[in-house]
Amino acid sequence: MIALENVSKAFAAKAVLAPTSLAPSQGRTTVLLGPSGCGKSTLLRLMVGLIAPDSGRALFDGTEISPANVDTVRHRIGYVIQEGGLFPHLDGIGNVTLLAGYLGRDQGWIEGRVSALCALVRIPRELLQRYPHELSGGERQRVALMRALMLEPEVLLMDEPLAALDAITRRELQGELKELFAALAKTVVLVTHDLHEAAWFGDEIVLMRAGRIVQRGSLEDLLQRPAEPFVTQFVRAQRADPRLVAK
């Protein structure tokens, strides 16, 4: 569904992404993992056309993303960021239905979709009357997820969706999200800096460093068959995390 072919990107003459190719497996969850500044968010932003590659091509459904088709492509992609990116001037329902309303979707269809999504992300309908600042961090991410899923996109892109949450909420949402990904069977690309989270979600883990992909594979591959010393180094640094030991 999504394919990046030899894309590279530089900001202010500083290369943040060396020519890279990546095609996340359809219907599965791919996790982009790495320390901050490694280029993982840049890959995600290329996929949704928020930035254009300096070289190479970003494809969606076999077609190169261009200014002419980017909005249509985005309607088929759900995109969730760290704090949710909810619009503070709209209440929950306003955020969730903004695009559907703009596209003139039938009111009955919208209502049905909102009810279904409330059940899916386990949020009471009344909570959607609240403004983002009146919601807890976890609730905000649930509403943001509803907004991303509203138009039944084929792809879900999540950029550090749980990074800003407290440990308990984060644990809870990790569990729910994994179930949800399995139930939806959508192509999911999730960005995280956390090895544990990558292992938890990732059907495939893509480890990155300094603008290039270091290794692709399962957690097992990273642990047992590190492609270069950095992989072991990165794993060791996060091993101290008790959650990983617990797993």
């Binding site: 932003r45 949704v48 928020l50 980017v70 909005d71 249509t72 492509v73 985005r74 309607h75 992609i77 995109y79 960021i81 760290q82 704090e83 990116g85 909810l86 619009f87 503070p88 001037h89 709209l90 209440d91 903004l98 695009l99 703009y102 403004y131 983002p132 600042h133 009146e134 907004r147």
Partner: protein
């Protein structure tokens, strides 16, 4: 003691008897004379004396004849006119005039405080083309067509003397003064006679030619009166004398403009002036509040509100798109922001003075344009900063949703910037209330009218009667926008920021 009381009673009875008589005021047939005549008549009436104003009796000769015959008791005229036209003399000081008029049972008194001298004027562009600045230079331009008022053509202190002094070769034709402006503007004539307090100099973009040989004498505005008036109407005469020095040239130009360009009746213009100066001299008695809430209060308030909000509406309509453009295009941002900033540095009086010839009119229009220009900066700047200040992740979220740019602007960016934009509009509105008072100097009305009068008369109470309501209006406007902020700004933005 008793004889004194008796005498007082007799005097009262006598003056009561005389008060049944009517004091007749005359005036010549042009705006300023009408207004001065009306001011005199209303001043007399205010003392309880009957007064009649025989408006626009005709030219100097007719009005003077009416005065001599006793058909009228007094009329406004100018020292130079009295000297040359009536006394055939060059000396135009009050003493000489009274010496000359005394034998006829007449006198001059109550110099109002301004000069209205004759002058010649041309279209500014024509004068520039020919390089004519002085009357002397007219002699070298025999092809110029002169259109002069009939009175000027025939007066000793008009064309005959002027043509002699400057050796002017042109053959002027007589033209009604009121029509001469249009004839000049339309190119049918090239030179006309005007008065220095003429309200239309700016409107028609005229160049007043310098009287480099000082042909025109002083034309101080005075009352010409029958010498028996002070005895017959003592109270009225005392009141009239208080008009001395009360009208300066600016005040007269403003009144002429109110009548000729603002379409106000002469009686209203005079009443407005008297209300201001009465109020000014009555502050001790009536108190500041009655001065402030005087009868012109609502008219001035209406004018002030019109100036503030009409210009503000235009500034919103232009400023928000400019701010959006500046936020969208880095190339456009710098010119737009420095452009509106530059306007702000132009002093308001200079801007008004610049706009008058540009728009060809005084009064409300140039004031509105100036206020509009001043209002732009806060609105443009706050729209720009409101939009550029939107958090990048919100901007990205909006784009990632797949909303096209116009929809993002309407549904997300403008609402997110609304608070900043509204704050800019509020700043503009409050500043406008203050700046609008300066518009009175070009006849746009509003509270500034009182401030201008107060400055002209050196009357602090009058000045405050304009400044205090302006300050109160600024506070009210501020409060109104606080209310609007609560009404218009989405709850999510308000509470989120405190």
């Amino acid at each position: 003691m008793k004889p004194l009381l008796l005498g007082l009673c007799l005097a009262c009875a006598a003056s009561a008897g005389f008060a049944q008589q009517t004091l007749v005021v005359g005036s010549k047939r042009f705006t300023e004379s009408y207004i001065l005549g009306e001011i005199a008549a209303q001043t007399v009436r205010a003392t309880g004396t009957n007064a009649e104003h025989r408006q626009g009796l005709g030219n100097t000769g007719i009005v003077f004849a009416a005065l001599k015959s006793g058909s009228i008791d007094l009329y406004p005229d100018y020292t130079g006119t009295v000297a040359r036209e009536l006394l055939k003399s060059e000396a135009s000081d009050l003493e000489s005039l009274n010496r000359g008029l005394g034998p006829m049972g007449l006198g001059v008194a109550v110099p109002f405080g301004f000069d209205d001298t004759y002058a010649l004027a041309m279209r500014e562009d024509e004068a520039q083309r020919l390089g004519v600045q002085t009357i002397t230079e007219l002699a070298a331009q025999p092809q110029l067509r002169f259109g002069l008022s009939h009175e000027f053509l025939n007066r000793n202190d008009g064309w005959p003397g002027l043509a002699r002094t400057y050796a002017l070769p042109q053959a002027p034709r007589g033209l009604d003064h009121g029509l001469a402006y249009e004839a000049l503007a339309g190119g049918q004539i090239d030179v006309m006679d005007i008065y220095s307090t003429d309200a239309k100099i700016a409107k028609y973009k005229l160049r007043v030619l310098r009287d480099d040989r000082h042909f025109f004498p002083d034309y101080g505005a005075v009352l010409v009166y029958r010498l028996d008036v002070p005895q017959r109407f003592p109270r009225a005469w005392a009141a009239l004398q208080r008009l001395q020095g009360r009208i300066n040239a600016d005040a007269m130009v403003a009144m002429n403009a109110q009548a000729e360009l603002g379409g106000q009746g002469f009686a209203d213009v005079a009443a407005g002036f008297l209300a201001r100066s009465d109020a000014a001299s009555a502050t001790g008695r009536g108190g500041f509040w009655s001065l402030m809430l005087g009868r012109d209060f609502w008219r001035l308030t209406g004018q002030q509100l019109l100036l503030v909000f009409a210009s503000l509406a235009a500034a919103i309509a232009a400023g928000i798109p400019l701010g959006v453009w500046a936020a969208r295009s880095r190339a456009a941002a710098q010119p737009i922001l420095s452009g509106v900033g530059l306007i702000q540095t132009v002093p308001s009086l200079a801007l008004l003075a610049f706009l008058i010839p540009l728009l060809g009119t005084i009064g409300t229009w140039p004031a509105l344009v100036a206020l509009f220009l001043y209002s732009l900066l806060p609105i443009v700047r706050n729209t720009h900063s409101g939009l550029t200040g939107i958090a990048p992740e919100l901007r990205d979220s909006a784009r990632a949703l797949g909303l096209p740019a116009p929809a993002r602007l309407r549904l997300i960016e403008l609402p997110l910037a609304a608070r900043s934009i509204l704050a800019g509009i509020k700043t503009s509105a409050v500043i406008n209330v203050g700046t609008a008072t300066i518009a009175a100097f070009i006849g746009a009305g509003g509270y500034g009218e009182r401030i201008a009068t107060g400055l002209a008369l050196n009357d602090n109470a009058m000045l405050l009667a304009g400044a205090v309501p302006a300050a109160l209006m600024a506070l009210l406007v501020h409060a109104l926008f606080e209310l609007l902020d609560r009404r218009l700004i989405p709850a999510g933005l308000r509470q989120a920021s405190g």
